[in-house]
Subunit: 346 residues, 2 copies
């Protein structure tokens, strides 16, 4: 008698069907190029259904060297994750694509301190077949380690000087599009608040796009109007506060993250400034809140779910060895969403 009454193994199915365990495996996995009589097939399937047999995923993983799970690795602090308005879309996109391939998603989190080691813990333990790194911030050593590691990895967001596969948007071009729109409305004194600290590559890229737009229009960039936020509404609030306090004059602001723009907007309101009458406000990301903001936020739409889906597909290709390990770069398009937070300069 079995120790755990309610644990059904393939041996139990074999016994009930009156065949060998091998046959059970061959039938249930529908192995091609092997001859099993239709009656036996039927008996096995019948027995499996009767017992409610579900193969043990761990045992399958052990022998097949495939866990059928991928890791989503978040590389931010506790607090950043909790306030990330973008995460649900990433997860939603990942879930839909993963389900199509019958793959599970394991979510983990790397504190910046233990970066180098922690990245590999899951993969080395063969808990996952590959991983997706979200908004990575890596030093050269970590990049090298990842490149030489055996674990398939895809980044959401690119990193300068790395040949690792990634899925991203063209941050420079997107930000340039945003800033150019403000310039086109006649603004010449434009503030810029980044989405994140410069270590996160998307941040300097978006600021660069902002610079490009101004430079192309023959406008000198006022460095005192450029400021780096830190993902959260709080940081946006603080940045905008500091900007207002500095006394520098500006008629528009480009905030490279809607989430940060939430805070920046609150600071403007506190200062008694109206949007867009006194200051035009341009966001970035198009999080769900943006269209319901007051006024509805003009922003750059980042295809978050598509990004996640592409990353997932790319990773699955890598795992199956279909794609090359290097030079797999996918760039998705962004879109300027004009709403009501920007207005031509009087």
């Amino acid at each position: 008698m079995p120790l755990h009454r309610n644990r059904v193994t393939s041996r139990d199915v074999a016994k009930l069907a009156g065949v060998s365990r091998t046959t059970v495996s061959l039938v249930l996995n529908n192995v091609q190029g092997i001859q099993i009589s239709p009656e036996t097939r039927q008996k096995v399937i019948q027995a499996a259904n009767e017992l409610g047999y579900v193969p043990d995923a761990m045992a399958q993983a052990l022998v097949s060297r495939r866990t059928k799970a991928i890791g989503l690795v978040l590389t931010r602090t506790h607090h950043h994750i909790a306030t990330d308005a973008f995460l649900p879309k990433i997860i939603s996109g990942l879930l839909t694509t993963a389900r199509e391939h019958n793959i599970r998603i394991l979510i983990d989190w790397v504190e910046t301190q233990h970066q180098e080691s922690a990245y590999f813990e899951l993969a080395r333990a063969k808990r996952i077949d590959g991983m997706i790194l979200s908004t990575p911030r890596l030093d050269d050593a970590a990049i090298k380690a990842l490149e030489s590691a055996e674990v398939p990895t895809v980044m959401m967001g690119s990193i300068a000087g790395s040949m690792l596969p990634f899925v991203d948007v063209d941050n420079v071009q997107a930000a340039e599009k945003a800033a150019a729109y403000l310039v086109g409305l006649g603004h010449r004194e434009i503030a810029c608040i980044s989405n994140a600290p410069p270590e996160y590559t998307a941040a300097p890229e978006r600021v660069q796009g902002f610079r490009n737009a101004l430079t192309k229009a023959g406008i000198a960039v006022n460095e005192r109007l450029v400021c780096y936020a830190d993902f959260t509404p709080e940081s946006g609030y603080n940045c905008m506060k500091a900007l207002l306090k500095s006394g520098e004059r500006f008629t528009a602001a480009f905030v490279a993250s809607d989430n940060v723009a939430i805070g920046a907007k609150a600071a403007l309101r506190e200062a008694g400034l109206r949007i867009p009458d006194d200051v035009s406000l341009m966001g970035f990301d198009d999080i769900p809140w943006a269209m319901y903001s007051d006024p509805p936020l003009t922003t750059i739409r980042l295809p978050a779910e598509a990004l996640a889906q592409q990353a997932c597909n790319l990773l699955l290709g890598l795992i199956q060895g279909k794609e090359h390990w290097e030079n797999n770069h996918i760039i998705l398009e962004t879109e300027l969403i004009v709403r009501k937070s920007c207005k031509a300069r009087q």
Copy 2:
């Protein structure tokens, strides 16, 4: 020579240290009540470090019957997940607690169609040791199945008529607190927009709390001012639109979800109504956006991260068999956060 060059097993460690595989296991797992000489211990640890040995999680899981992973099961549609402003906090709370116990989190998603079977797929395959159900919506059959199943389960949000362990707030009392605050401000015609359809138990509970507050104040509930939204800002927008169109008069609105309130607020603004001067608006949840809303939203704070952490701890206790399977109910406190979206009736 090994097939996969870069795969290090305990056998390799044993060979290098000149001991048996058993000894390696005993040393590295620090098994108590067994005698191993300090020199041998040192040799093993040295060898393991040298080779960068990491035990195979799947093999460990197979033999120990513990995967050291728990499942977070989301029970909503694709679109609801993507726009859920609450999810990041849940995940953040789960990640921190899980990390303390060296547990991984597997995230999965159950479409309402395949409910009954899909719930168990992960657990039956022994991919996870237990699961957390988020905002469950279950029929009686599914509850029965869960209660009789062998897989430890904790719900975030309770279900009427179920003895399953859960972590929740007192929705009735919290909503009553919110509505009573509006009543206290002198409002008598108050609209109510739920957070979700009635099938999700929190929705009718919050509406009930709303009713209680009015009844206790001797105010008759106008059923035409009660309306059920569907998690998203869109649904809140539509509800509020319908309410305005109905011609029923109201001076305040209780929206049982900040996320829904985002949309409701947009509809009010579109109608030219000012908050709080024309209509007072009360939310529920205190998502990060709430305090930066314009005006800052008065709401009920749901301790999202604490909820997730408690659920995680409860589940881990269940898995270790320390707690009883039934009658494990944790209720956390809510808090009325007064900001500026509500105002005394003129």
